[in-house]
């Protein structure tokens, strides 16, 4: 589904992503873990085309590195950004409608909306509320629901657990798991390495702009280096 080669991102001469390779196959849930400032968000933003990048990003065969961002959702790529990025001054229902902005199929949109409300019942209760007045966890749910409304084939998730209470983190990951179980391809960025690896099939470890390890999730969980650096040495 996704094949990234020699992807580079820099901010005014300072390299944040230094030529990384990354693959995600159809139906896989792959995670990208790493410390603060490793370049995970920059990588996802480059993949979502909201950050200029060099290299090759092949999505279902096409090199999308020069595509404008607004073309992606129509082709099946959705991003749930770090910090949620909900439209604070739009209602929950309007945010979800924005997720389906590119779609014309009214009946299908309605059935997807029902499915999202099923998956995230809290959103249904809050449909008329302004998104800016939701709690952090609810905003995260909304950001995920909004992405699902675009019926993506590839979902890019940036730190969905950030800033959430443990119970909310559990809920968010349950949603991620059930979406993955329905066959969605997911690239998950997380600092919470243990949790991320526990739901993923494979993982990449990123350190200061480079990918330093790539393996199956089980192998990474067992790897002493990963345990020391990312799993609190357990």
């Amino acid at each position: 589904m996704l094949k990234v080669r020699e992807l580079r991102v820099s901010y005014g001469g300072i390299a944040a992503v230094k030529s990384i390779d990354l693959d995600v196959a159809d139906g896989e849930l792959v995670c990208l873990i790493g410390c603060n400032g490793a370049g995970k968000t920059s990588t996802l933003k480059a993949l979502a085309r909201i950050l200029p990048a060099h290299g090759e990003i092949r999505y279902r065969g096409d090199d999308i590195v020069h595509w404008p961002a607004h073309r992606l959702i129509g082709e099946g790529i959705a991003l749930v950004p770090e910090g949620r990025g909900v439209f604070a001054r739009l209602s929950v229902a309007e945010n979800l409608a924005m997720g389906a902005y590119c779609r014309e199929d009214k009946a299908e949109i309605a059935s997807d909306l029902a499915r999202v409300f099923d998956l995230l019942p809290r959103l249904k209760e809050r449909a008329a509320q302004l998104a800016g007045t939701l709690s952090g966890g609810e905003q995260q749910m909304l950001a995920i629901g909004r992405a699902l409304m675009g019926r993506p084939k590839l979902l890019l998730l940036d730190e969905p657990s950030m800033g959430l209470a443990p119970i909310m983190v559990q809920k968010v990951f349950e949603v991620v798991r059930s979406v993955a179980a329905e066959g969605m391809t997911i690239l998950l960025v997380e600092q919470n390495a243990k949790l991320a690896l526990s739901v993923s099939t494979r993982g990449y470890v990123m350190e200061s702009g480079c990918i330093t390890m790539a393996d199956s999730a089980a192998m990474l969980l067992d790897n002493p280096k990963v345990r020391d650096a990312y799993l609190g040495g357990e």
């Binding site: 979502a48 909201i50 404008p68 961002a69 607004h70 073309r71 992606l72 959702i73 129509g74 959705a78 991003l79 950004p81 910090g83 949620r84 990025g85 909900v86 439209f87 604070a88 001054r89 739009l90 309007e94 409608a97 924005m98 997720g99 902005y101 590119c102 302004l130 800016g132 007045t133 939701l134 709690s135 952090g136 905003q139 909004r146 675009g150 800033g163």
Partner: protein
């Protein structure tokens, strides 16, 4: 005759016009964070375009309101095209430039438009033909004429239309989303450049209508009329809270009322030292007060995004 009621009526007429122009400033600011100082000139181009059409048709025996409508049908598309072009030529290339650059460009665009229009329409004051019956109707001890009624009603209808467009339609929702977070909107599939063009086009259509209204109201049009009107409408937008649509409408109407009541009573208040020719002072007095006391404007609070 009741002076107070009369000044309220005059203020509402003036305020309706300010509100239409203020909306153009505030919509562009809301989406780009840019003050389009050339917007007053778009109003002027609308006024002069309408004037030429109206002059040609006013001898044709068509009823005045029809002539006014035809004037609008000419001025509105001209201004829409102008707004679209200004954004494409003057602002888009500077999208990522320092903030001062588009501001200076806006002033340049203003000067160019004024000079071009002066070449075509001359530098003298042009009289705007009377299209509506001057016969006043009496209302609560004051008088109001057909033109004033038309201005208030048409401006009101356009504002209702704009609110419906913004709140109830797909493109309106996309405009609000883009104003809040362009990168996120583009990830929803919104073509942000197209939304920005659309915003300029809508604002310019409102400006064209305001242009015809203001020149019909004062029976005069002039190549430099956009400057003062633009500044006042900008003041109205700041008063309401720039970037906020309801604020621009409220600010426009309030400014019209302040100016009208102020100039109506200034001579009494100052013992005859200052006359109603000081009417323009009020707008700037309001602007200074707002900037000092409440820079975010009357409706400028925002729902902030929680972490």
């Amino acid at each position: 005759m009741d002076t107070f009621i009369q000044q309220i009526i005059n203020g509402l007429v003036l305020g309706s016009i300010y509100a239409l122009v203020a909306l153009g400033y505030t919509m562009v600011y809301g989406i780009l964070g840019l003050i389009n100082f050339a917007h007053g000139e778009v109003v002027m181009v609308g006024a002069l375009t309408a004037l030429s059409i109206v002059k040609v048709l006013s001898g044709s025996g068509l009823p005045g309101p029809v002539v006014a409508l035809l004037g609008l049908m000419g001025a509105v598309p001209v201004c829409m095209a102008l707004g679209f072009t200004i954004e494409r030529v003057a602002y888009r290339p500077l999208r990522n430039a320092p903030r001062l650059a588009p501001l200076i460009t806006a002033i340049g665009v203003s000067i160019v438009l004024q000079q071009l229009m002066m070449l075509g329409w001359g530098s003298t004051y042009l009289s705007f033909p009377q299209l509506f019956s001057a016969q006043p109707h009496s209302l609560m001890g004051a008088s109001i004429n057909d033109l004033q009624i038309m201005i208030i009603c048409v401006a009101g209808a356009m504002m209702v239309g704009l609110v419906l467009l913004m709140q109830k339609t797909r493109i309106g929702r996309a405009m609000r989303a883009t104003a809040e977070n362009p990168a996120m909107a583009s990830l929803m599939g919104v073509n942000v450049n197209r939304i920005i063009s659309f915003t300029f086009v809508i604002g310019s259509a409102l400006a064209a209508v305001a242009g015809l209204m203001v020149s019909a109201n004062y029976s005069i049009a002039h190549y430099s009329m956009g400057f003062m009107l633009g500044l006042k409408a900008f003041t109205a937008a700041v008063l309401g809270g720039i970037g906020n649509l309801a604020g621009a409408m409220l600010g426009g109407v309030l400014l019209g009322l302040i100016e009208s009541l102020g100039s109506g009573y200034i001579s009494d208040l100052t013992g005859g030292v200052l006359g109603s020719n000081y009417r323009d002072v009020f707008a700037f007095f309001v602007l200074i007060l707002v900037l000092v006391l409440r820079p975010s404007g009357l409706m400028g609070e925002r729902v902030s995004e929680r972490a």
